[in-house]
Symmetry: C2
Subunit: 466 residues, 2 copies
């Protein structure tokens, strides 16, 4: 444990009240926002920690006591009421004193009534819940089918509610930004701890443990399944059994989530031995330049697709400089050369979800009228809006040598003559690297929330091995 003296700060109740007021002002009719329920792990009595639905967490919170489990917020243009389940008699013995509904009301500065009093207006809008159980509850309340899962097919009042939530949540308020800063701070601690813990001979799981321990110690949880792997070329690698050997690069994609649900999301790659080889260093410097170019492109009014392309083009410039590609930059880029080594988007919205608002499909990430590109370099991009002050995004280009791509003629296509596989082979000690920061869009450009995490070569080399 490096710095044990951090503890999360709760947002003030007024922040939630203001969000409810702003949502109500955008609504034409009533809406039901469900908190959802904790999910059983292997039997009903052994559950994953309760984590409120993000829309509910935005408007009410996500308290640890479980008082929000199964609760529903009814909000309409004139007022908001939380319908919650009162603590069960005798539950205090098992889970400690739980707030009564009156105490909850006082704490939240919100009208709170017993769940059984909820009479849902038949025309109430809902958002798609993430579990079938909650979908069934909402369906019964409204006497119509409510489908769980993603939301591109929303219609009518449900679609209007989704768009209202998106409009609010896209632009982070002061309380949200404070939460994102705390998530970034603890994420930074985790990465520094991971670097300090690294040495040859460990398993990936041991570095992961050091990182997650920081997050747990600071009263947070992991905002997604940690990736800590010497096989960074597997983009969502969830295995941690590999041995960490000298000469390898270790990729760690680990983020902290505040108790209220706000996410950090950071990736670093560092040399296990504490020293980059010349080839690792060369590619890493190109990738870093690409990431800095993308961050430099972030400012209000810029289309995120251009941020993505700034990263891809700068990376490709590096690959040309190393002789991996031969040819002219823009032409190669248009033909998908960058995507052969960087086959994902440069980032995504960040907020209460690590891919913020992804429960609503591409509705949040893509401006009305826009949809995903078919171009090989752009199709995985989760976000393509004009940036505005108050948005938070990740910036996370990567370089990966993925056999499944590089050996697939359908992927390499017409690039084969332009790709110098001998030059590429010289970089065989780089399998997969990614550099990811959390960025707040401000009037002046990008503010990197995770700037405290070592990223330059010398900083990383000084941080590995404690």
């Amino acid at each position: 444990m490096l710095e044990p003296d951090f503890w999360p700060t709760p947002s003030p109740p007024a922040a939630f009240a203001e969000r409810r007021r702003r949502l109500a002002a955008r609504l034409d009719g009533p809406a039901l926002i469900a908190a959802g329920e904790s999910r059983p792990r292997n039997f009903q009595g052994n559950r994953f920690p309760f984590r409120a639905d993000s829309h509910f967490a935005y408007l009410v919170g996500s308290a640890a006591e479980g008082a929000f489990e199964g609760a529903v917020l009814l909000i309409d243009p004139t007022r908001a009421t939380l319908y919650a389940h009162p603590p069960e008699p005798g539950a205090a013995l098992w889970t400690g004193p739980a707030p009564s509904l009156d105490e909850l009301a006082a704490r939240l500065e919100l009208r709170v009534r017993p769940f059984e009093e909820l009479r849902a207006p038949p025309n109430a809008a809902v958002l798609p819940p993430q579990e079938t159980e909650t979908a069934l509850v909402l369906g019964e309340l409204l006497d119509r089918d409510v489908e769980p899962g993603g939301g591109p097919a929303l219609t009518g009042a449900d679609a209007a509610l989704a768009d209202a939530m998106i409009a609010l949540r896209l632009i982070h308020d002061e309380a949200a930004i404070a939460q994102l800063r705390e998530a970034a701070e603890v994420t930074a601690r985790a990465h520094r701890a991971g670097m300090a813990r690294t040495r040859p001979g460990l398993r990936e799981a041991q570095v992961r443990a050091a990182m997650e321990a920081e997050i747990i110690a600071c009263g947070m949880s992991c905002s997604y399944g940690s990736i800590v792997s010497v096989h960074g070329e597997v983009l969502h690698n969830e295995r941690h059994d590999g041995l960490v050997a000298a000469g390898e690069l270790l990729l760690a994609d680990v983020g902290a989530e505040t108790p209220e649900g706000w996410a950090g999301d950071v990736t670093r790659a560092w040399p296990v031995s504490g020293r980059f080889t010349a080839t690792q260093r060369a590619l890493y410097e190109h990738l870093l330049a690409a990431q800095l170019a993308a961050i430099g492109a972030v400012r209000p009014g810029v289309r995120y697709l251009e941020v993505h392309r700034a990263a891809g083009k700068r990376l490709l410039e590096g690959l040309i400089a190393e002789g991996i590609f031969r040819g002219e930059l823009d032409g190669l880029y248009e033909r998908g050369a960058a995507a052969l080594f960087f086959p994902h988007g440069v980032g995504h919205l960040l907020g209460l979800d690590v891919h913020d608002l992804e429960d609503l499909g591409d509705r949040a990430g893509y401006a009305p009228g826009r949809s995903r590109s078919e171009a090989p370099g752009d199709r995985y991009l989760r976000l393509d809006r004009e940036l505005e002050p108050g948005m938070a995004v990740t910036i996370e280009p990567g370089f990966y040598r993925i056999d499944a791509l590089l050996s697939d003629p359908a992927r390499v296509g017409s690039l084969e003559p332009d790709l110098d596989r001998d030059a590429l082979a010289r970089f065989s000690d780089v399998r997969g690297i990614r550099i990811e920061d959390d960025v707040l869009v401000t009037e002046r450009g990008a503010e990197v929330l995770t700037a405290a995490i070592p990223k330059r070569v010398a900083e990383l080399e000084a941080s590995v091995g404690g």
Copy 2:
């Protein structure tokens, strides 16, 4: 990290084949055993780690690659077939190479077919899945209602299948015992790390982090939500924000689960300062004597209720010795005196679930014809069978000063004149302690799987603070 050189050992495929063979021999007709699915955390793309249903994990396994997600085992008296979803094309890019169904078949020594080929026999028995999604899938396969959740209401072939699984899983085979030993070993590491980390001024979360880091570093997960609290009197306390002060006792109920799903479940309580006070020590010694008495009572043929009573009576003997109760032991016990401070059962089955087979309600814990007692000291007991060699149970008596109980005339009842509240007040520095070990029933009696974890006063005092 104390001892980083542990890594879990997988069970041999032959062990699973033997379990399937033994289940088939007990069945009159076909059965479907569903693996279940991973559960979304806050959106569909961000999920809790997949953890196979325990019955499936018993018969097939619970591999990390996700190859079992959504799979169903069809087993009948003549053969077993796993119907699984083939890896999606392109998934290798994101999650790395996944085994083909043929590779899975070779690895598992089991017939594996694509899920779409599954034609479920209409008379197939099922067990209640833990999530609605899987219940809906099974219901569609069988064209009947399948209810998720607990199983006391099972009938017909479903009930027979449940009883067959219970008969198998109650008595652990060699592979299961090997898994339980590994879970116990890593659980031991976690507790030693927690003791070493403890010092006044920390938050509970920091001790929890040190314990869970050991579990993660050893390639395991937590078998249940960790309790690490100076408020041990809240039995299922899930908060970790409290400060750990000198003079207090810290209770930690933390267990490791192997990648195949086998659980450890251990509680220790230790002094934050490294020294028990005289009053803490006195009560702790009585509780330890109670726990050892219960362990000493474990042997084949003994009814678990008697193990529970052995603990309660030995604890009560201590309370009488300290002057907290006045009167005659057996009479006080029958009137619920022990239960006023020890209001839960002495333990439960342990196996693939931390409360093993609790998905089937009391069907596993209570022998046919038995049901829960109404007696105050016995009603929370989750297990009341005659013990047999190969069973694993926890032994976990506790002592708690719970205001909600002690101030409730309905609970104290006729014991009030026998309770010396002044004598009790002398022990105000003991709020809640519990001592829990994992015990294997052998021909000779109890083998304590978690015996390596400090438990005696001198051992604990030597272990706190590293």
